[in-house]
Subunit: 215 residues, 4 copies
């Protein structure tokens, strides 16, 4: 695309090679984005329109837990997407292992509409809370593994900003830890476990900064 | 992508930087478009194929309200997409806050298939009409906030055509106002509230022009 | 992207303008493709997994009509997509009217999973056959209107190959005619009406060639 | 995009031609990727949230087969996507026949969520196992046909790496053979047939290498 006319054959080949790798990379990113976009949109399917009812206000009121689950899950999936987005924009190149890890990660992302619907239907149930937290922990953990692998293999861009490194690193350990901790907490108190999730939004990055200074 | 061979290192870096920002931007736009495409296509799921019936014509006739809701919602989501499309094509750059606002906006867009199905099932019910209007008002309002933010932060292109400014600005205040007004009207007359929505298509832009001359 | 370094300001602006129009155009095409991809994939939702049954072979045999509807609809939507694809690749530019027509067209495309499920459930019913044919006629007709508009407004590329013109023109009149005719035929014989649809694949292009020589 | 200013008219036309073909190609690939992304995400719809229950742990335990089917299908569709991805990145150009074959291939890919749900519901049933294996065999076979066609017509890039050739060739014969064999095995033992599928992941490439040395 736009190969300048006066280039040598070698230079042209090198550009073509880079172009092709770019296309490859763009496809993987587009596929991931597509899966995210579909998964986040399928969340709406958990909101079931009430069957014939005399009092629709009442019936909608009964969907309160479903709306709560929708809001939390949309925010969480949105945050996961932003992290994925940022991580992949810092990648210089990828390999087959990273693609496999990414598919494993997406398999957990795609499960979120199920866990979210479960939480909406059985909001005060321990099992639903544990499944939801476990799903989120698995997403965070498989993301963390991708990051560790990519840094270990030197797949990241040299100029990746320190902020991105911080974001990509400790913040995710904190996420995994929060979701795993909430599983344990759920066996004591279900509402307390669900409140823990808010910590992802409230203190996640502050704890990451704190960890960053120590590590 | 087509970096000319005879460029200085600084120039190449600058182009790469712009290229990378373009890729980032393209991903956000593509993600939004994906969510729109899925949400608009999920509208069809509200059209439930009748169960075993002796008279299919009769049964299809009973879906009249569903088809009406489908048509209105497709037109409305299409219009929202066109507005979003036009607004983002006028953006010079974006920041994290705008991305967060956009996700909040998409969270309301994704709810439309639910509100639309509700309207199809309970077309003459006040609650369904209010929920639908509230959903639309929330979409319009979160879009308006994005526009105000982007202009305030100077994220728009300098050469953004005056027509785009007009479109992005007052037209959206009018949309929010129409949908909020229809909520109030619904408590007097449900059909009148639903008729109000047509104003978005009929007088929306004329009122925007009128407002534009006054402001 | 990759504006060469030694360009004059005017030349750069012109390239940027073309770039921006290209991005706009790409978004519309990508949105349409997304809607097509989702609509074609939603066809699978019409295939309902049988509830608890003692004889699954028997139950799957009962889905015969659903599989037939799936196969026909996948082929038809695929064909519509190829036509859309080819038409848009011959477009030089677009305007707001064409975007509106395209949305109207997509609104009929998105209905296909519903019509297809209806046909699968009520395969030998006149109403289902008429709805399906009417849906297809509406898709073909709104596509034809886009083509006529684009040629009339001079939006097509000058170098659009004669083959594309032929494809874009008479072939679509034939499609609309076949689907409209099958509605009439359905009131005499439902199976005959359904057989008519095969003509789209078998004689569509031959009839288009014949028409092309006469017109 | 980015046509250098100092190019001759012929050179500019040639670049434009290549650009346009690239856009065409990108659309087909994006459409296929979209269908894959949606099909893989729809797999989650097979996981039905239990209806009101006293013991949610118990109810979730009853979904064991569904989770197994989800995991297997996600892995298989992911693998199919990687193969499709790699094959198309090795393509130099395409023609109408290849597009038709690709649509036929996608028609089988889109069926996977149905077959997968069937397997989840009727995991120990011969019919479900046969349908699943037949679906997978059809995907592999229509992919194989694309590869044979593309090599036969000389549509592949000259510089396509030997590894890609190996991957594109014998590995797929092995996949078709494994899935066809598992249909036969299912008539003796259903669990044995399902175990056969693991061979796709475990020995698929080793057998492909072995075949490669012989052929």
């Amino acid at each position: 695309v736009g190969t300048p006319a006066g280039m040598s054959t070698e230079a042209r080949k090198a550009v073509q090679h880079r172009d092709q790798a770019d296309v490859e990379f763009a496809r993987i990113v587009a596929f991931s984005d597509g899966v995210f976009a579909i998964a986040i949109t399928l969340l709406v399917l958990a909101l079931e329109v009430p069957a014939n009812t005399d009092d629709l206000w009442q019936a909608l009121h009964g969907l309160e837990d479903d709306f709560f689950a929708y809001a939390v899950s949309f925010a969480v999936v949105g945050k996961f997407w932003l992290s994925h987005h940022r991580f992949y924009s810092g990648l210089e190149r990828f390999d087959n292992t990273l693609m496999g890890l990414n598919l494993l990660y997406l398999a957990w992302v795609v499960l979120i509409p199920f866990s979210s619907e479960l939480l909406g239907e059985f909001g005060d149930d321990r099992a639903a809370t544990v499944v939801y937290a476990a799903n989120m922990a698995a997403v965070s953990a498989t993301f963390m593994v991708q990051i560790i692998y990519a840094y270990g293999k030197g797949l990241m861009k040299a100029e990746a900003a320190p902020q991105e490194r911080r974001f990509a690193g400790p913040a995710n350990y904190v996420f995994v830890a929060i979701f795993l901790a909430s599983i344990a907490i759920a066996f004591v108190s279900v509402p307390a476990a669900q409140l823990t999730w808010l910590a992802v939004f409230l203190v996640g990055h502050r704890m990451a900064d704190w960890l960053d200074r120590r590590l």
